[in-house]
Amino acid sequence: MNLFSIIVLIVLCVSVFFALRAIFVKKKGRCGGNCAGCPLSDTCSKKDQQPEV
């Protein structure tokens, strides 16, 4: 496997990570509540969102 293949594979892995994160990681919005399933999550500014501890 050449270097290019490894780079492409890494890019794919990173994409998978972000896709999984988008599906599963629950975030807290600025309201303090959970973003999962919240209709406001689209409009909640990202800087205010914190990963759930």
Binding site: M1, N2, F4, S5, V8, L9, L12, S15, V16, A19, L20, A22, I23, G37, P39, L40, T43
Partner: protein, 790 residues
């Protein structure tokens, strides 16, 4: 005599409103109160529900509900739209300049004003009736991507956004409601939001063309004692039709700023924002919250409410509920407020006595007496400030259109014709063309990427992952996007124009037989095109029960992606009866859907469909901005899913297709993990007559997208599908089609179900439909064998 017995064109006076609980309260809130005149406009084509004219607007009601409303003084005609009266100079040209209240106006209510420290974020609740232009105003205020429609209850979700050019503000768009009674979830959400989130101000938007009914909510919002402005929307329509509203006089009587606006034309919005920010910043609360008159029936209601206010003052303070609001709600019989106040037994007894005394003196029950008190105040204020417009051209146009679109003999043919046109344009003309364009684009990108990766000598397995996995998988699902955008383009036009409310009116009786209300027809019809937008469209349904049930039933409407499978098998096995086979499959899907609906009705969704008390708004031209924002919203939502859930699913399927159990790349697809899994599953299909691993593999890939069934079979059978005739008999081919018709929807549809209802229901759909598909297919196989079919 009851309202049910009224004849078309007859007018009567309501004498009593029967029934109980929240539905009765909803009738009262909609203005169905004793003493009010009501005219029967028409019946739905199937004889139920009925369309009534009351307080100058059109209301629909089921016959069963109408039976609970007693009437007398029946006569022909009457209760017409008011004709214009002469407008005097005084009516149109007041010497007093607007604004009177707020924003540097001539006077302020400052007695209890406590200005907020500068820099405080000003939060606003945007509240109003359904179909009053609330979401259009929200779009004008924030520029946010919020859909607007005439279909009642469209704003099921709460959305918020910053007011443009005012960075330290936040407006929350609340659902369209008629009152603050706990009748629907929307009303509860609004009440809780204002009581618990404590917005710094309320922007109450009312439809100026139907001001009497709209002010009913205004009065309850004012009782909440939160700084508030009143936006009189559609004033352009009132003016054009010769009407007028004395804004300063209304301000003086209500004690809140009143601003005439036209949200659709962006008129008066800046003034509205200035007033809203002023009252919120200075915390100028409504100058009036007391609407009961000591003169009305010897002050029966007035004395009762004020006595309750004294009785509960400390409890209301402890519960942090405005005392006037709490007292009115207790007088009305609101159990939830009673619970929150935690009154002692003595106080509860005293409360009961106060209410009984009021009922005796007033001659009405508690809920009707409070509703009557509110409407009396509204009549008083309207007679002093509102010059009714003549019948608007929008209303005249609606009556003409309704003669055809909801006419007894024309409604259903017109509905079929309109939906047929929408489907034809989506799935045969525009959608197909756009999908073809997108397909070519994706194909071109795939070829270029493939060539580029080959030129850079990428590892063949990684290359296959990118090209055969990601590009093929995500690309095939993305090709649905044009269908979704085109379909929602037409649907939003139908919805915004007011036609969808009529469809619900026309189809209600039919849908009620399976435990749903008329509003569920649209998502289920869309399901024949594609389950994904069908599930997405169910969001417009106001009841959680109806919404869940509709989402679970939509996949039974055979989607267009199954057509290539049906066509292939019909041509191969039933060349002379291909059309009959196709039609029988569609009919079977609907029948099973109906059976499942009956099953749901008796088990997990017991109870009745939501009452059909709904306003029929005038037909209006849909706004391009609103339609555009909706399309963007839907497209963004779908693309997000394509690059998350579907992206992951395509990679998993590719891995299963490419590797064997030792993780070696397979040269023969028969050795892949997918084939092994398919081989494990294959015996399950033995009783159905197709226990072949190739067919099981095709069914598994069909979970990705139904179109994949044909392409997978083609690949596995060496490039030709004629070999199928050797693998299957006509009977087992038909049984296979039945199974494909009913088994789990594709991953895109499941992902939509998951988004709307959560993982639990998504898994329920996958497992439940597979079981139902197997059982029905087995039944068909047995029946066919018994009848001697092979």
């Amino acid at each position: 005599m009851t309202l049910r017995e009224l004849k078309i064109g007859e007018t009567a006076t309501i004498t009593s409103v029967g029934g109980s609980g929240s539905l009765r309260q909803h009738f009262l809130d909609m203005g169905v109160i004793p003493g009010v005149q009501v005219t029967l406009v028409k019946m739905a084509p199937m004889g139920d529900p009925m369309e009534l004219r009351i307080h100058g607007y059109e209301l629909t009601l089921r016959l069963a509900d109408a039976q609970q409303i007693s009437i007398n003084q029946v006569c022909r005609g009457g209760n017409e739209v008011p004709t214009i009266k002469e407008i005097s100079e005084d009516d149109t040209h007041s010497n007093e300049k607007h604004p009177g209240l707020g924003e540097g106006g001539v006077y302020h209510v400052k007695a209890d004003a406590r200005p907020l420290p500068s820099g405080t974020k000003l939060t606003f609740a945007l509240a109003g009736n359904q179909n009053c232009g609330k979401t259009t105003l929200f779009n004008q205020l924030t520029g946010s991507n919020q859909h607007v429609g005439n279909f009642p209850g469209v704003t099921v979700d709460r959305k918020d956004g910053e007011i443009r050019r005012h960075p330290n503000t936040l407006v929350t768009d609340l659902p369209g409601i008629y009152s603050l009674s706990p009748y629907s979830n929307e009303e509860l959400v609004t009440r809780q939001f204002i009581l618990e989130s404590k917005p710094k101000g309320i922007i109450n938007i009312v439809d100026a063309t139907n001001i009497e009914r709209n002010l009913y909510l205004t009065m309850q919002l004012m009782e909440l004692n939160v700084p508030m402005v009143l936006a009189l929307n559609m004033m352009d329509e009132v003016r054009q039709n010769g009407g007028s509203i004395r804004v300063n006089e209304m301000e003086r009587r209500l004690g809140i700023p009143v601003i005439p606006i036209s949200a659709a034309k962006n008129e008066g919005i800046d003034e509205l924002v200035d007033h809203a920010i002023h009252v919120a910043q200075n915390q100028e609360r409504p100058g009036r919250a007391d609407f009961c008159s000591p003169e009305d029936h010897n002050g029966a209601v007035h004395r009762c409410i004020h006595a309750i206010m004294h009785l509960i003052e400390d409890h209301a303070q402890n519960a942090d509920i405005p005392v006037r609001f709490a007292a009115c709600k207790l007088a009305e019989g609101d159990e939830q407020i009673l619970e929150r106040l935690r009154l002692e037994e003595n106080e509860k007894e005293l409360l009961d006595h106060l209410i009984k005394q009021m009922e005796e003196e007033r001659g009405l029950d508690q809920a009707a007496a409070i509703a009557d008190m509110r409407f009396s105040f509204i009549n008083e204020i309207c007679s002093a400030t509102v010059i009714k417009p003549k019948e608007s051209k929008e209303h005249k146009r609606s009556i003409k259109l309704d003669k055809v679109l909801t006419g007894k003999w024309t409604a259903i043919p017109m509905f079929i014709a309109i939906m047929g046109l929408v489907f034809w344009l989506t799935f045969s003309v525009l959608g197909v063309w756009l999908s073809g364009l997108l397909d070519s684009g994706i194909g071109w990108l795939t070829t270029i990427t493939d060539a580029g990766l080959t030129a850079y000598q990428l590892n063949p397995v990684v290359q296959s992952l990118i090209i055969d996995g990601v590009f093929a998988g995500v690309g095939s699902v993305l090709s649905f996007l044009p269908y979704i955008v085109v379909l929602f383009f037409f649907l939003s036009i139908l919805e915004d124009s007011g036609y969808m409310a009529r469809v619900a009116f026309v189809m209600d009786k039919l849908l009620r037989k399976i435990g749903l209300s008329g509003r569920s027809i649209v998502p289920m019809l869309i399901g024949f095109g594609c389950t994904v937008p069908g599930v997405m469209a169910s969001r417009t349904l106001p009841s959680e029960r109806d919404r869940k049930m509709t989402i679970l039933l939509t996949p039974y409407m055979s989607c267009s992606a199954k057509v290539p499978i049906f066509a292939l098998f019909s041509e191969l096995f039933f060349p002379k009866h291909a059309a009959l086979v196709m039609i029988s499959l569609y009919v079977l899907g609907i029948l099973i859907g109906i059976l499942v609906a009956f099953l749901f009705r008796k088990t997990i969704f017991r109870g009745s469909p939501v009452p059909f008390v709904m306003e029929l708004p005038n037909y209006r031209m849909p706004g391009a901005k609103n339609v555009g924002l909706l399309l963007w919203d839907k497209a963004k939502d779908f693309i997000t899913r394509a690059f998350t859930v579907i992206f992951i699913a395509t990679i998993i399927i590719w891995c299963l297709q490419t590797f064997d159990l030792r993780l070696n790349v397979v040269t023969d697809s028969q050795n892949s993990i997918l084939a092994i899994l398919a081989g494990l599953i294959a015996p399950v299909f033995g009783p159905l007559g197709f226990a072949d691993w190739k067919i099981s593999t095709a069914l598994i890939t069909g979970f990705m997208a139904k179109e994949s069934v044909v392409s997978t079979l083609t690949v596995l059978l060496g490039g030709t599908t004629t070999a199928l005739t050797a693998m299957l008999t006509p009977l087992s081919a038909f049984v296979l089609l039945v199974f494909i018709l009913l088994y789990t929807p594709c991953v895109a549809a499941i992902s939509s179900v998951k988004r709307e209802l959560g993982w639990k229901w998504a898994v329920f759909v996958v497992v439940g439909q597979c079981i139902i598909a197997w059982v029905v297919a087995y039944g068909v196989h047995m029946a066919g064998t018994l009848l001697g079919a092979v």
